[in-house]
């Protein structure tokens, strides 16, 4: 009596005897290692899995549902060892490479340098460059910057500083140095897939996956709680100081109306951008490369929250009376102004240095019209 293991070969389930499973896994692992440098590795592995699946299917029938270990070994012998055709230098139609020139990229061999990388950048390419330098996913870097932006705009400040300081990777050689590897699309895809499979391996069994999910959720809940508490405390202190310590100046109502106007404009812009993202898959003509739409919406909402927060806070300050006895409110007011100035500066810089942003800013008006039109049409229908 033998234990049976169910495997998934290119989308079909097969039951193998345990020894057969071990042999098949060893075969596919060794195939994967031999094709490590092959840009089409995943496709070849899928083809081979498909061929093995075809052979298994031919063996099985209504009265035979399990592939025996011996049969697995016969199939593997029939398949033959996987040989990477790219490594054979005697192939026709191609000049044999000079001896001693390795074709496979050598990871971590080349020293990396920190650059801005404009290809696929959202703003200035700082996150892209950092991600390449640290060899992690660019989305993670972006999220980190977004979180940093919450802490009194540190992320924004850091971003602008790095944007001004870092050199741009313009030449191929620069990009190679930024990634420490040849910057071909195939290489990136290969890396991405390699990372994906590595990640999947750690979640081999359902128990581990469930455990990981549980921990993740718990952590997220914890963060959310902390964050809410912080925000509540901050808001409370803020109101307290302003209501106690500051009298509105004579022209407060002008300031309030101006700030409200600003707030409304920003909010409308935010809504319009979300609508344009959902309707066209791009924010005012800028395609969010590598970000799913739902994440784009969340990022937009958070971004516009950040934009309106200082304005709202200032407006609030004008509502509540008090005298400038305590320095606190001024710190907060200064903070808000500083934040606003940073955002304006970032926009200005982007407007001048990125043709995409410039175009997007020019397109805002027709896009806004279009967004309003679609809302009006929707209302008419109701």
């Amino acid at each position: 009596m033998n234990k049976v293991i169910i495997i998934n070969l290119n989308g079909n389930a097969y039951q193998l005897e345990e020894n057969g499973y071990e042999a098949l896994r060893a075969y596919l692992d060794s195939a994967g290692r031999r094709l490590e440098a092959n840009p089409d590795k995943d496709e070849i592995i899928a083809d081979i899995e498909q061929a093995i699946a075809d052979k298994f299917r031919a063996m099985l029938g209504p009265n035979k549902t399990v592939v025996a270990a011996k049969e697995v070994e016969a199939v593997i012998a029939e398949m033959g060892p996987v040989q990477d055709a790219s490594d054979t230098t005697q192939a026709e139609g191609r000049a044999a490479p000079a001896p001693g020139v390795p074709e496979a990229p050598q990871p971590a061999a080349a020293p990396r340098r920190l650059f801005k990388i404009r290809d696929g950048a959202m703003i200035g390419g700082v996150c892209n460059g950092l991600a390449a330098y640290l060899d992690i996913d660019v989305t993670i870097v972006r999220v980190l910057f977004a979180i940093l932006a919450f802490t009194y705009g540190a992320g924004v400040l850091l971003y602008i500083l790095m944007m001004l300081i870092l050199p741009s990777a313009n030449t191929t050689a620069d990009k190679t140095a930024a990634y420490g590897a040849p910057p071909t699309a195939q290489e990136f895809i290969r890396r991405a897939k390699a990372g994906y499979y590595e990640g999947m391996k750690t979640f081999g069994d359902r128990q581990a996956r469930r455990e990981w999910k549980r921990k993740f959720k718990q952590e997220m809940r914890g963060w959310k709680r902390d964050f809410q508490r912080e925000v509540h405390q901050g808001a409370h202190q803020f109101h307290h100081f302003w209501s106690q310590n500051w009298h509105p100046p004579a022209g407060a109502w002008i300031a309030i109306s101006v700030l409200t106007f600003l707030c409304v404009i920003i909010t409308l812009l935010g809504i319009a951008s979300v609508i344009s993202l959902l309707a066209t898959g791009a924010v005012f003509g800028i395609h969010l490369v590598g970000i799913p739409t739902w994440a784009g919406v969340i990022i937009l909402i958070i971004g516009f929250q950040m934009l309106t927060w200082p304005v709202r806070a200032m407006r609030h300050g004008f509502y509540y009376g008090g005298g400038p006895v305590y320095a606190g409110p001024f710190v907060h007011l200064w903070n808000s102004l500083f934040w606003l100035a940073l955002v304006v500066l970032a926009l200005w810089y982007a407007n001048h240095h990125s043709t995409e942003v410039h175009e997007a800013l020019r397109q805002i008006r027709p896009e806004l019209h279009r967004a309003f039109d679609s809302v009006r049409q929707w209302l008419d229908k109701q």
Binding site: A51, G80, A85, A91
Partner: protein, 118 residues
Amino acid sequence: MHINEKFTPIRKGLLEFLVLKVVSADKVYVADILGQLSGTEFATQEGTLYPLLSKMRREELVDYEWKESDAGPPRKYYELTAKGREQLRETSDYWQKIIETVKSLGQKPQQLGKEPAP
């Protein structure tokens, strides 16, 4: 047996040429190619053929399309590209030259055999 081993690298190197020839006749899938080669000296296996076809596709010598099959999942049917046909023509010419060279090399002394022996 000995000859068979000596020619292993040559057979390996010729495989791409032969695959080009097989694919040039008709749209085929991998099992067809294996079947046509199986009776010959160039019998090969999936483990060799899939990486080779993938490399040839990368070099734009062949292309494939998915076709439904009567039994089982859809299959990849391969066909030659214009570049592949060009390469097949060049390789055939070259192969012809090699055959002639091989033939003529041994016969040279016989053709010039009128020289008197010292």
